[in-house]
Symmetry: C2
DNA sequence: ATAAACTTTAGAGTATACTCTAAGTCAAGA
DNA sequence: TCTTGACTTAGAGTATACTCTAAAGTTTAT
């Protein structure tokens, strides 16, 4: 079973432009062409696109994603390298989640600050509630 | 107490170029200048930079960050809008953490897949372990 | 058969976020 | 006084990731 470029675009919520761009950069090394030159996406190519999306969403550049697929095409001899790339990526995602959680605390503080400011009216929040200044400094300094 | 642009750059691991760029875009509306035209960063300006970093790391564009600071400069009448922005941002961060967690599972599957491939040698992992194909499809489809 | 819809390529254009250069200003130390 | 180093501006250049146009060829529906 094969898919046209616009069917794949629809499936992954991308544009055909973007898929052609990825192909041009070497991110879709196994996509074939029909006798008249139209791209034919196989199930394996769909898995490729799904993996591109996963790596992209977790912060890899398209160049890094291409490097990964270049290794994949070389076959079993590159399994160690690809595994190492995924181990590195796992670490990066875990670090990013930690960073987001730290920043989430800052945003939650800001919401609490604004709620307090609304409660106390025109007054200065930090002079009314000195412990909030301490909390601010702990989060932001 | 005031800081020069290079002191602030060092403190936040940014370059002076970047800080001038942020100033030009309107992200540092309260930074003053000395009589000879040199930027002087106050404690409040440092808090601004810390907030820019927080918002940037959680996915806001510089344009969106500027909009936030433009509201902040307008004073108490914009507190509701700023609070709403932070509530929206909290939601976005939570969604992003969920997305990263989903993608982390995919990366972890890949690592397990490669480990299995190494264990079974040249053989096809999915024909040896059909449940791994089911797991792949569950994660990626 | 033919019109509409889809695809191809090369290459140009856009948006974002820097990053740097050039030319000049200013303050402090030898 | 002069040199060094940090700062200023406007504006050019870079990297990334699309996004689109133009002109041509292909496929599908009536």
């Amino acid at each position: 079973m094969f898919y046209s470029i616009s069917q794949v675009a629809k499936k992954f919520n991308l544009t055909a432009y973007t898929l052609r761009y990825y192909d041009k950069l070497g991110l879709l090394p196994t996509v074939g062409k029909s006798s008249s030159g139209l791209r034919r996406f196989s199930e394996n190519d769909l898995n490729c696109v799904a993996m591109i999306e996963c790596l992209k969403e977790t912060g890899l550049t398209l160049k890094e994603i291409r490097d990964y697929f270049v290794l994949a095409v070389k076959g079993d001899e590159t399994i160690d390298m690809r595994m190492q790339m995924m181990i590195n990526q796992k670490k990066r995602i875990e670090d990013e989640i930690k960073s987001l959680r730290r920043n989430l605390k800052k945003i939650e503080f800001k919401i609490k600050y604004y709620q307090t400011a609304k409660d106390v009216g025109e007054a200065n929040v930090y002079s009314e509630y000195p412990q909030m200044l301490a909390e601010h400094d702990k989060l932001f300094k």
